[in-house]
Amino acid sequence: MHLHRLEKVWLLIGIGTLVMFLTIVGISAFAQGHHPPSDLTTLDPQKVDTTEPFNQPGLKKIGDNEYELVIVSQAFAFMPNDIKIPEGAKVHIIVTSKDVVHGLEIVGTNVNMMVTPGHVNSLTHTFHKPGSYLIICNEYCGTGHQMMSTKIEVTKA
């Protein structure tokens, strides 16, 4: 099939741009480890309260200014409530759901992941700036969805 010369140029620029985009996000993901949250761990969604580490939701210090934050989400709340973290802390967030699908978003950061029952999701974030961060559920989970939130207080070191 014949393509007009200008159409060839146009498609070449277009496809070239797309290839460039894919290369950039591909390198960032596969070479630099910036994968979107894709945890493969599963659990029985009806036994969250007795499954480690979700039997003890909360913040655990695991290294030098490094923490593990275990969160259980259920309609319409996150456990634990009101978390305090020192500035500059590297936090490994681990989350699951006791009922329906929720979303976990920390406003003003790139922390954003789906929380599906039966699955664990996780990602790591370093809190560089002190302040009050809002954690919200960003997936519809029922009539109280808009109330489902908690806070992280990042304190000055």
């Binding site: 996000v25 949250p37 894709s38 922390v111 699955h119 009050s132 519809y140």
Partner: protein, 546 residues
């Protein structure tokens, strides 16, 4: 091709579909208006109506019902126009399809109004609605399949009578759109029939949530191309005739549609980028395929502007952009779809951002996404469907588009664009700040981050109010064109191919090859992860949190 009216029976069929579509548009728009006011904090819903109940109605009535009915009506009209009167089999299929879809829509809508299905139009498990909600949706899908069968048979009959000739472009595109739709809806049919219905009736206790989400999004992304392709039909074939030009290339137009059939389906994971249980490799593979589906849209953009420029120059335009002045800006049949095309530029760019793997993390489930599809489906597609209605409805009812209604249509288009600029612009911006989509009014206990969003949510309501006025205008115009405009003959514009264009290779019409390739791509993109999900993803009991 002569400009004669469609056979009255075919006209009635198309008109019935369009009428149900517009009724759904009206009801869905009322829900949308109320939502915008609730979200801005200026309205509390009376009589126990829930925000999420309205949101479910808005999504189902607009994204599923308005679009599907209008599209099937338009496709049948196009087939009757270009392949001749519908055969008895096609007509029968179309009417059976119409009634199945209408009954399904009625059942689903009643369930939503009774507050038995406040699960939003994506009905994510394990939120469990009344089984009748799912049954209603099944009837809509099955009805559309029966309609599709009618179109395929009409096309086959034409092919048999005209061996060795390429089919009329408009009919080829209608068939491609229905092929895409049927392959896509298989996913949602499997999850609804084998997972949701037995589970909601209590025959099984649990549902594999990740599998249901994966099957939904196998359908959910090609769904948006099912909306878009009929708009492309108008842009490729109808618009050239309206502006007094010719179709740039018949074969490239067909190639674009074939590429959509191939690449719009194996891409559903880009809606599940932030989800557990799917490995980064499979997500990325489908993201690469997602980017492939941008190519036919680039081809479309080129072809359209080539048509505009060539026709402008043939009318004596000079200079680099002189042809712009030769376009019929005061003809709403051109103006409304053209504004839709323009909006597709930011709409498409936003889509590329959404699908860009880890970039999705910035915008996923924020109002940015709502802003995005209010540009693509609710402006590009909607304005093009309005643009089609301005001539199709009077063509079917034996009336004419008067200068007054034409002018009102131009004003309607301007109102739509202003309203959407405000609403979608505010949604995009506040979404980048993190405001979540699908969420009722809340300040999260007056948290300072959430309070920053409030003024944007007010702008959204202002935009929504302007859009509702525009909805009333389009309904006034369409009703007028259907029952009150002066009698006469309104043209069903069908463009002809430019004489410089190449002959169409018949390979493009070899559906066995294209459907085969499409299946191969789907198998590559989905087999391994789906087996993995079936083996490993846990099942969950149902919940009713409304």
């Amino acid at each position: 091709m002569k400009n004669t009216a469609l056979h009255p029976n075919d006209g009635k069929l198309a008109l019935a579909h369009i009428a149900v579509g517009y009724i759904a548009l009206f009801l869905g728009a009322i829900a949308g208006l109320l939502q915008a006011f609730v979200r801005s904090g200026t309205l509390e819903l009376p009589a126990g109506i829930g925000y999420y109940q309205l949101l479910t109605a808005h999504g189902v009535l607009l994204a599923l019902v308005f679009t599907t009915f209008f599209i099937i009506g338009f496709l049948y009209a196009s087939m009757s126009r270009t392949t001749g009167d519908l055969t008895p089999f096609a007509k029968k299929s179309a009417w059976i399809g119409f009634w199945l879809m209408t009954i399904g829509t009625a059942i689903t809508t009643v369930m939503i109004l009774l507050n038995k299905a406040t699960v939003l139009y994506t009905f994510y498990a394990p939120l469990k609605a009344s089984p009748w909600f799912y049954i209603g949706l099944t009837l809509v899908v099955v009805g559309s399949w029966v309609s599709g069968a009618g179109m395929f048979s009409q096309y086959a009959v034409w092919k048999k009578k005209n061996e060795g000739k390429p089919s009329p472009l408009l009919s080829f595109m209608a068939v491609a759109t229905m092929i895409l739709w049927i392959i896509a809806t298989l996913g949602v049919a499997v999850t609804v029939l084998f997972q949701f219905i037995p589970w909601s009736f209590g025959l099984v206790d649990k549902i594999n949530v990740l599998l249901s989400r994966t099957l939904f999004w196998y359908f959910g992304h090609p769904l948006v191309y099912f909306w878009l392709l009929p708009a492309y039909m108008c842009w490729y074939v109808i618009i050239p005739k309206i502006i007094g030009g010719k179709i740039f290339s018949d074969s490239l137009a067909r190639l674009a549609f074939v590429l959509f059939v191939l690449f719009s389906i194996p891409v559903g994971f880009h809606h599940q980028i932030l989800e557990s249980g799917i490995t980064p490799f499979w997500k990325f593979l489908q993201i690469v395929l997602t980017f492939m589906v941008i190519v036919p849209s680039l081809m479309t953009a080129f072809a359209l502007f080539a048509t505009f420029e060539i026709s402008g120059r043939e009318k004596g335009a000079s200079g680099l952009f002189g042809w712009v002045k030769k376009l019929p800006w005061t003809d709403v049949r051109f103006f409304a779809p053209f504004m839709g095309m323009l909006v597709f530029i930011p709409g498409g760019a936003g889509g590329i951002i959404n699908a860009s793997n880890q970039m999705n993390q910035v915008v996923h489930n924020t109002l940015w996404v709502t802003g995005h599809f209010h540009l693509t489906v609710a402006t590009t597609v909607a304005l093009t469907f309005f643009g089609i209605s301005y001539w199709l409805v009077p063509h079917l009812t034996g009336r004419t588009l008067t200068p007054r209604l034409n002018k009102l249509g131009i004003i309607q288009t301007v109102f739509w664009c202003i309203g959407m600029f405000l609403m979608s612009g505010a949604m995009h911006t506040v979404g980048l700040f993190g405001a979540p989509r699908r969420t009722a009014y809340t300040t999260y206990g007056d948290h300072p981050q959430a309070l920053e969003w409030m003024s944007y949510q007010t702008i959204m309501a202002v935009g929504g109010a302007i859009l509702f006025v525009a909805i009333l205008m389009i309904l006034y115009i369409v009703i007028n064109l259907a029952v009150a405009a002066p009698k006469g003959t309104e043209e069903f514009p069908v463009g002809e191919v430019h004489e410089d264009a190449e002959k169409t290779p018949l390979l493009l019409e070899n559906w066995k090859i294209w459907i085969g390739l499409s299946v191969v791509l789907i198998v590559i993109a989905y087999t391994v992860p789906v087996i993995d999900i079936i083996e490993n993803a846990p099942s969950s009991p149902g919940f009713k949190f409304w």
